[in-house]
């Protein structure tokens, strides 16, 4: 009986959403809004124009990856909010599960796991850092890079019983978070606008291009990595 009612309700809900389809453009034939048009051509302030990989120089935002340019430069305030959500979640998890000792799994991790972690860990850490350093060039950025590092930490937790992060993730998290805000404040001090891109943006596609975008993404990478490994550590504590 309960199943039947919920099916009817769900069907009604889907009909509600489908009814809105008449408003939406057909799948695949969306016309780009004026805002994203400006983001792609990088001429929000009007001095953009046709951007060409490896040629166009010192644009208003040098990031090759347009999504990263939106996430870290055009709508950087969102990301600040985003990082705070993760920060509060990690803080919440540590407040809720205020365990003290490291929880032992009770059985020695088997041999294959321990050996493969020894091999895989440096690769994972390297790959994670690669992602958030090249955030403004290749897809991915602070968030996936940090998560990959945290996955590495998780592997460490699984592979040996005594491993435990003490307060280090808290410090890394605190420092990288406040550095991110400080870069924003420097922009406020120099140009009177918070989170402005005060460094030269260089050639699109170079490693050292796009002003503060790579710096901010690296900081976010550290912060997310520290927070998520903090969450993993808390899940491994008890008592």
């Amino acid at each position: 009986m309960r199943r039947f009612i919920s099916i009817v309700i769900v069907f009604g809900l889907i009909m509600f959403f489908i009814n809105t389809l008449s408003l939406l453009p057909k799948y695949g034939s969306v016309n780009i809004s004026k805002v994203s048009e400006a983001y792609i051509d990088k001429n929000v302030n009007g001095n953009g124009g046709n951007v060409k990989y490896n040629e166009s120089e010192s644009l208003e935002n040098g990031a090759a990856n347009v999504v990263t340019s939106i996430v870290v430069d055009y709508r950087s305030f969102d990301t600040l909010g985003e990082v705070t959500v993760l920060f509060t979640a990690a803080l919440g998890v540590s407040l809720v599960l205020n365990g003290i000792r490291r929880k032992k799994y009770g059985r020695r991790p088997n041999f294959i796991l321990r050996v493969s972690v020894g091999i895989l860990l440096p690769l994972i850490i390297l790959f994670g850092t690669y992602i958030f350093i090249h955030g403004h060039l290749t897809p991915g950025g602070g968030f996936p890079g940090g998560t990959i590092i945290a996955a590495g930490i998780l592997l460490l937790y699984l592979s040996n019983e005594e491993f435990d992060l003490s307060k280090t993730p808290k410090f890394v998290e605190g420092i990288s978070g406040s550095l991110y805000i400080v870069t924003g404040l420097v922009g406020l001090a120099i140009a009177g606008v918070f989170l402005i891109n005060f460094l030269p943006t260089g050639i699109v596609g170079d490693l050292f291009s796009a002003g503060i975008v790579p710096i901010v993404y690296i900081l976010i990478g550290f912060k997310v990595g520290a927070e998520l490994s903090g969450i993993v550590a808390d899940l491994h504590r008890e008592g």
């Binding site: 302030n45 919440g92 605190g174 009177g192 918070f194």
Partner: protein
């Protein structure tokens, strides 16, 4: 410059994460600095984040409405930060984040940014709502908040598709014709859960009764005001009062059923939680009467309700039995409850009177009937608690004495309630400015989009 209001508490939060316990002492300092900055700022300015002008980048709007709302929210936070007794170990950092996110919610001029700040407030609220005694309430709140966040996000996306950009002013000016109903409905669901509207706000009694005194105090006053402000900003400035007739009906439902449900509660905090639901419903239905006067009186009543709730929740959470030892707490509790019911010499009377007069002038006979019926019920259960606490014979074994600073704050707010009852101009002027800012959306649009 207005970004500093959000950044400073955030920076303090980030810096103090490694030593959470010490954060209790810098919380008042941070709140005072934000207050000073706020007083230095001039009310109508828009700051584009990252230097990108309005529809493209994110914009923080500081007009008369957000200026005074910020003032109220920061003062509430200041009062709470001056009472370290009610803030448990390690929760001051969460309070810092909550202050940043409430300031952000008030200031932001971008719909997706308001979604992010709403999520931060929600996550911080889940943590505050958690307590060893009642983790289930916090979990239910989390699920409800998650779902409402998803719907709010859907609403934001439909608004983006409808107008091409995410900026409030842009949406209010050129949202395509058919999109308004769907966007208004989804945003209504998203905010409805937080603003305690009847069927959506199932989490309120369990969360307010979570045992730690901080939860009801901060959620009942600071966060409620911010959410009500956001409600006004979106449904009046952006949607030009489109969805308000539906909200009116939901508001009435909230008042009646909120009061009735309060009638049978045997715990004081739960009864007060339902009373705050009912008062929120009253504010919403007054606002949705439409027109400048309605909004002004709605927020005036909200201010009165918040000052009364601040006192009631602190007392309900700290000492829940007789007042014979701590007289000041008893007196301020009675003053706050009389103001809630609307006895003449107190603030609540003024706002209820003005609301009734407004409803009659709009030939709406339903709202006054509901308000008066609800006040009769409210009088019944609040006065029952008043008497039970004043005349309770069981001198509780744990002789809980309220410390002096909590008593001082209770007294100040109680005297403020009486002062407003006699000279209501202080709150009225604030409510007037908020109503000004919210209603003339032409000024808002030109202010934000620079006359585009």
């Amino acid at each position: 410059m207005s970004a500093l209001l959000i950044i400073i508490p955030l920076l303090a939060g980030f810096l103090f994460i490694p030593f959470k316990e010490k954060a209790k002492y810098i919380l008042p300092l941070v709140v005072i600095t934000t207050l000073i900055i706020l007083l230095l700022l001039s009310p109508d300015q828009t700051n584009a984040m990252g230097g990108w002008k309005a529809p493209f980048g994110i914009v923080l709007v500081l007009d008369s409405a957000s200026y005074y709302s910020l003032l109220v929210v920061n003062i509430v936070f200041l009062l709470i930060s001056l009472m370290p007794q009610i803030v448990e170990k390690g929760y001051s950092v969460v309070l810092l984040i909550l202050l940043a996110s409430t300031n952000g919610l008030v200031l932001t001029g971008d719909i997706f940014n308001s979604f992010v700040f709403l999520e931060i407030t929600a996550v911080a609220a889940y943590i505050i709502a958690f307590s060893r005694k009642n983790p289930y309430g916090a979990f239910k709140y989390l699920i409800l908040g998650g779902i409402s966040g998803a719907f709010y996000l859907l609403g934001a996306i439909y608004a983006y598709i409808g107008t091409g950009s995410l900026n409030f002013a842009d949406i209010s000016v050129n949202i395509k014709e058919g999109f308004l109903p769907i966007v208004a409905l989804l945003i209504f669901i998203g905010i409805g859960v937080e603003s305690k509207i009847f069927p959506l706000a199932g989490w309120v009694p369990d969360v307010y009764d979570s045992g730690s005194p901080l939860t009801p105090v901060i959620l009942g006053t600071g966060v409620t005001f911010t959410i009500m402000y956001l409600f006004g900003r979106i449904f009046i400035t952006v949607f030009h009062g489109y969805f308000l007739d539906v909200v009116f009906i939901f508001g009435l439902l909230t008042i009646v059923l909120g009061e009735l449900a309060a009638l049978r509660q045997n715990k004081l905090i739960k009864a007060l939680a339902f009373s705050s639901i009912a008062q929120a419903g009253l504010v919403l239905s007054t606002i949705s009467l439409g027109g400048y006067e309605a909004i002004k009186f709605g927020y005036f009543h909200l201010l009165n309700d918040i000052s009364a709730k601040l006192v009631l929740f602190i007392i309900a959470a700290t000492i829940a039995h007789n007042f014979t030892e701590n007289k000041i707490a008893g007196v301020s509790f009675s003053i706050a409850s009389f103001s809630l019911i609307g006895f003449p010499l107190f603030a609540g009377f003024r706002s209820k009177l003005l609301i009734l007069q407004l409803a009659f002038s709009k030939d709406n006979y339903l709202l006054p009937a509901v308000v008066l019926f609800a006040t009769v019920i409210e009088a019944a259960y609040i006065l029952k608690w008043n008497i039970k606490l004043w005349h309770s014979t069981n001198t509780g074994e744990e002789k809980q004495k309220i410390s002096w600073n909590v008593n001082l704050i209770l007294l100040i707010v109680a005297l403020l309630i009486i002062f407003i009852g006699i000279f209501p101009d202080l709150y009225l002027k604030m409510a007037q400015n908020i109503a000004d800012g919210l209603t003339n959306y032409r000024a808002y649009v030109t202010n934000v989009l620079g006359g585009m």
